[in-house]
């Protein structure tokens, strides 16, 4: 009996795409929550191009940058949940940023799918000679003024947590997106900063050093460098790139869009996949549907607790 049920379920799964084939009625607007030229932007635009090529859906990317993606999500919230207005940002936009807004809550959105995971790391200019967090602490103890480049409230809180754990003082510099943080480092407006993945070319060119990974495992560019957790700092700033829609999107639309994205990202020849493999190694991360939704909700709770702990 059980076997028959499973088989039936498997069959219906196989048949599902053919039956529930959803097609948009007109172009899909893909609102990118960060500025032009950053990691989110490049990924979103390549993906839009490939969805168009695969399905013939017209996808129009548009940048709506600002406030950790919430400038975009605040507008997305009020749109029709018909799958024709989608947001592309990072999980932080939904599992952290709503905390600072009276008008936004993680409940306002339908979570479609993630695409890739960050390579979050602590960076410093190579010419500073710092290789580890200990070097950073030594420099601070020797009297050097530390300015930490952050692109949002969450990472700024993270920088503060690191500073407190190392028992050093840092001043914070707020930049526009991850690219802004890199520019601040290169132009010496800051001497330490976060990088979520865009740092790759500069690290490889030997301009920047990775001091530590802020993920749960070492970052691909510097596998020998420890994570923050390895050195006793309980902090994970890793995030994923995520496609969302307004709350109330029918499941078949949500799953169809997720399936299209999965089909593209599972294809080794896909340009988006190749970009992800290079910038956000090792491979795309595809969490979707209800699993993704509960991930966002759980992390939101955890983040609220973290900020409360920090405020004490």
């Amino acid at each position: 009996m059980r076997k028959i049920l499973t088989m039936g379920a498997a069959l219906s799964l196989l048949a599902a795409p053919a039956l529930a084939e959803w097609n948009p009625d007109g172009p899909i607007r893909l609102w990118i929550g960060y500025g032009a030229g950053g990691g989110t932007d490049v990924q979103g635009r390549t993906l839009a191009k490939e969805i168009e090529a695969l399905r013939g859906w017209k996808v129009l990317p548009e940048n709506k940058a600002g406030e950790d993606g919430t400038v975009m999500s605040a507008q997305l919230k009020g749109e029709e949940p018909d799958g024709q207005t989608l947001g592309f940002a990072i999980t932080t936009t939904y599992d952290f940023a709503p905390m600072n807004s009276d008008n936004l809550s993680p409940e306002d959105f339908t979570y479609v799918t993630t695409t890739a995971g960050s390579q979050m790391a602590v960076l410093a200019r190579a010419e500073s000679g710092w290789e580890t967090l200990d070097d950073l602490k030594a420099a601070a103890d020797a009297g050097e003024e530390l300015v930490w480049a952050n692109w949002g409230t969450q990472v700024e809180a993270g920088a503060e947590i690191v500073a407190r754990a190392l028992d050093i003082d840092v001043n914070h510099l707020r930049t526009k997106g991850g690219r802004g943080a890199l520019n601040a480092l290169v132009s010496m407006d800051a001497n330490v900063g976060w990088g979520g993945g865009v740092q790759k070319p500069l690290v490889e060119a030997g301009e920047l050093n990775i001091l530590a990974s802020a993920e749960t495992s070492p970052v691909a560019l510097a596998p020998e460098k420890p994570t923050l957790q390895d050195v006793g700092i309980d902090l994970n700033l890793g995030y994923q790139y995520i496609i969302t829609g307004p709350a109330g999107m029918p499941d078949e639309i949500r799953d169809e869009i997720a399936a299209v994205v999965a089909e593209i990202l599972n294809n080794p020849d896909s340009e988006t996949r190749q970009f992800i493999e290079k910038q956000y190694p090792p491979a795309p991360i595809l969490t979707s549907g209800d699993e993704l939704r509960s991930q966002v909700m759980t992390t939101y709770e955890a983040n609220v607790n973290m900020m409360e702990a920090l405020a004490e």
Binding site: R45, E67, Q75, G152, L173, R174
Partner: protein, 528 residues
Amino acid sequence: MDLVFQYIQLGITSVFEGPEGGLTLLPVFMVLIGVLTGVLIGAIPGMSGPFAMAIALPILVSIFGYGNDALYPVLGCLLGIMKGATVGGAVPAILFRTPGTPDAFLTTLDGYPMAAKGHARKAIQTAHFSSVLGDNFSDLALFIAAPAIALTVERILGLPEKSALIILSLCFMAAVVGKAPLKGLLGGLLGMFVSLIGSAMSGNGPRLTMGMPELGNGLPLTSAVLGVLVISEVLVSMEDIRNNCDDASSSDGKRPEMGPRLTWVERTAMLPGILRGASIGTLIGSLPGIGTTTAATLSYDSAKRASKTPEAFGTGVPAGVVATESANSAVSGANLIPVMSLGIPGNSAAVFIILAVETIGDFAFGPQVFQFTPIREIEGFDTILNAGLVTAFGIFTMMMIANFWNWTFGAMLMGVLGHLAKIPKSVMLPVILMVSLTAAYTQDGGYLGLLTASVFALIGYVLRRLDVSILPFVIGFLLAPTLEVLVRGAFTASGGDPFFLLKSPIALVMLALSVFLLGRMVVQARKT
């Protein structure tokens, strides 16, 4: 030094390299279209280069899109228009005593008498020769100065100093633009105020959006600039036509005798004059806000003073045409020095170059462009280099191409332009209005774009009617976000020190200069 040449070479080839690595002549062709359009537009009285650039930008973007591939064709066309317009304006000034662009006004002083004496061809060729040569001279200054300034700024100036530099630029601009500096200053402050709408980078949500989440990212840039610069001008001109204040033309429109060509001996004799005019124009152009008309006036005066026969000026001497045309054209290249090295626009043409760069692709002006990152190839992966720097040299290359077209086709076109310079304003204005409103609608999110353009047109109209110059408003509007990021950064990076702007001697000097300029403006306003 090898590295510099490597980047220059990459920049040049990047212009001719298509997306698949093959040869493409599209940017070259677009530059040509731009130059020809520029010469034509420049020759139509009431139209100017920035005007044409404003209208061309949305059209170009809708043709080529927002991708990185679109940058060269769009920017090439805009640069072409900018350069073409500087030469075109002289033609009607010489033939009909109606300057095609405002900066060609002084060209009428000697150009028209020359034509009246039967030397129209000579006058036009003189204008072309000195104009293009002046332009080339200032391009050379740009190529050398922009990277040098950018590198110096990045090495020496920190956040407080960069903040002070922008404050100084804004004060300077208000002080030199227009007849009433205090009004300019107020206009600038108003521009800065409207740009406060949108993101505050504080993490506490956008501000001043009046409950409209669409404004969370600030006002749509292109619509706002189109409204305040272009549509408001259309409104004012329409009103003038209706009130019959519009002085149609001070000549009878008859085409004067063309006369003989300009000889090479005559051209050689002009070179010292061109060099003086071009130097003045370049110097003026590299300072934000002063503009072409001032450069032409200064150059004309200095040429007159240096001349052995100053009394002949105004009766039709080639030296007068040389002085004004070489200077006003030299402004255009030099104006890009603050743009490319610091991201500070100095005139309306530069505003549209910046707008184009911000709208398209991921290239952005600023000191980071001129980092000479060593070029390294990693096996099986990628080449590491500063792509921004390659683009910068690509832009320089397109400017050189524009100069080439200006030398060749520009000269030919100028010879036959006389007939075209008579399109009446009553035909031009509705076309411009329609194109700009369509552009605002398509490029900036539908009705929000239209609404923004209309509100800004109204602001521009009121400012113009109150004799407040528009440029400080626009530049205040464009620069305020940069200034805010810098000031906010300087403050937090100092650890919340309330005197963060006054701690560095360089910032202190620049702020003192700003205060001096402000004081001077007040004193001047009191006197008049």
